[in-house]
């Protein structure tokens, strides 16, 4: 298996075999990332393909800065592709506060939460309304700040923080529901 640096250099030169290796190494991770944002498997696959093609076309802009920088670059590029698509499809409309929030849930034990399968956590994120899902993903998982989020999806920084708080509340109740259902 090639090193990240070598893989990037070969992909930048248009080497088909290296592009195939890049796809084999990162496709399933980027697919999960897209699914986290769009909550639809077909759409996630479509977006992942778009992001991969874009990456292969724009490898010249990638600068290697140590192990992990290739995935970090692919991830950022993929998030941008996803946000562009969500904007085009007008899926980033603000939604009213929904009925799923029930106050008074006790705090779940962190160890119990840690034992929830990743796919279940992913489905909980996917079940959030579009804007909350986007803000939560960008802020909590993909490391964007409120300023970047506000610029990317056309809201204010304060609005982004408010939406994040609602997303967290909704996720907390989803986690508690799950723990209650599974008797943990």
């Amino acid at each position: 298996m090639r090193t990240e640096q070598e893989l990037a250099r070969l992909c930048s030169a248009g080497d088909r075999e290296a592009q195939g290796e890049l796809y084999a190494q990162y496709a399933s991770r980027l697919y999960a990332l897209c699914y986290r944002y769009v909550a639809d498997r077909d759409e996630a696959q479509d977006l992942m393909h778009d992001a991969m093609i874009k990456a292969m076309d724009s490898f010249k802009s990638f600068i290697y800065s140590g192990e992990g920088s290739l995935y970090a670059w692919l991830r950022r590029l993929t998030v941008n592709v996803v946000i562009d698509r969500l904007r085009q499809m007008s899926k980033l409309r603000l939604v009213p506060i929904d009925q799923t929030m029930e106050p008074g849930y006790p705090e779940a034990d962190d160890d119990a939460v840690d034992e929830i399968p990743a796919q279940v956590l992913l489905d909980m994120v996917a079940a959030l309304p579009s804007v909350r899902r986007t803000v939560f993903n960008m802020y909590c998982i993909d490391g964007f700040n409120h300023k970047d989020i506000a610029a990317a999806i056309g809201i204010t920084e304060k609005g982004s923080a408010g939406i994040l708080a609602k997303a967290r509340t909704q996720l907390r109740s989803a986690v508690n529901d799950y723990l209650k259902r599974t008797g943990r």
Binding site: Y23, A27, R29, Y31, A32, D110, D114, L122, V125, I141
Partner: protein
Amino acid sequence: MKDYDDIFRKRLEGYEMKLPSSDRDDFLNRKATRERYARRRRNFLGLAVGIPAALAILCAILLFVYLLSK
């Protein structure tokens, strides 16, 4: 929720989801289609610029020959 944030991030950051078995073929087909389209577009642009340029040069030569013959 800070701890929950960390848990969600830690578990989902590099999470891999199984792709459909036909995914690689779908991707290669799509990539090939894109490349074909880009090539066709380049060819079209080449012709759209090249033909008028060639005609302009031909006209200039003909005009020059005509003026010389006078």
